[in-house]
């Protein structure tokens, strides 16, 4: 009987450790999942006088892309976002802790995939959403609820494997 104890412990440990294999520890749970986008009141990036609130986020399924000109990975994914917008996917930008001038110059030179941009220089809405690093891309449903969060660059793989299936499902 007792000679089996080390084996039982080893197998138990192996099972526990196995569940963690392949998990990326830098990917955190999305605390806001299935919650509405938090209250906010911020200007539009290109049109300073336009005040945006969460009411402007209701009525359609869309991607909420958190970006900034200081973020190198945002530049990497920007071309892909422009392609997605051309395919007719609505993308709203959250310009996060950035400068208005630099952000507008970026959109002029690299193309503008966004229906509009929420200008959040203090990172207030970003903080309330739980953004811990740009780029992050949220999938928001018609009622303005967060349904998915992708941390990191949106590319072919991220779009086809996780974002697109959910997008099509929600858009039905």
């Amino acid at each position: 009987m007792y000679k089996w104890i080390p084996l039982i412990i080893a197998v138990g440990l192996a099972l526990v450790l196995y569940t963690a294999i392949g998990k990326d520890p830098t990917k955190l749970e999305t605390a806001r999942l299935n919650d509405p986008v938090p209250d906010f009141q911020l200007n539009e990036l290109k049109n300073e006088t336009r005040i945006l609130t969460q009411e402007d986020l209701k009525g359609q399924v869309f991607l909420l892309n958190v970006w900034a000109t200081w973020c190198p990975s945002c530049r990497a994914e920007h071309g892909y976002l422009v392609d997605l917008a051309k395919k007719g996917i609505p993308i709203i930008g959250l310009n996060y802790k950035d400068e208005r001038k630099a952000a507008m110059a970026w959109l002029d030179s690299l193309g503008d995939p966004y229906s509009f941009n929420i200008y959040d220089p203090q990172g207030k809405l970003g903080f309330d959403l739980g953004v811990y690093g740009a780029p992050e891309t949220y999938l928001i449903d018609k009622k303005g609820f967060v349904r998915y969060r992708h941390v990191g660059v949106v590319d072919d793989r991220a779009w086809q494997q996780s974002l697109e299936p959910l997008f099509t499902k929600l858009a039905k």
Binding site: E29, R32, G123, G130
Partner: protein, 158 residues
Amino acid sequence: MKNVLMFKICALLLTLIIHPPVFASIDVYEFDSEQKRQDFVSLTKELRCPKCQNQDIADSNAPIAADMRKEVHRLLGEGKDKESIVDYMIERFGEFVTYKPKKSSETYVLWYGPWVLILIGILIIYSLIKMNKKNKVEQTVSSEQLNQLLNKYDDEKK
């Protein structure tokens, strides 16, 4: 020549010994009470930076940690207590941000796992000691039996 070198070495060692402690976060906060200052210190040690895995927000240079320190300061200024500030952070960043996770069905293993392991360890040690004793008892019995056998053998020989 030698003296100059010794002097330089001593000077170097001295600067290493008396240099002021270096803190990662250099922002300065003011508090209207000593209690709030203490709450700030303990909260920033209890909250974990979401970007940098295993650093508290007091220790981290990441922009998100700086934002979190700023929010902790702002909320303390509004008169929020420690518990509601931790809840505020969990609402945004998830259970990950606290080094003291709440007791829930998901975290029971974290809270009680070590005690279960200690209990199992005690049981194993206990049963090992018991087994050892049993073996010793058997040994004494068998040596008595051995003596009897020897005596018997001696008797038969006489």
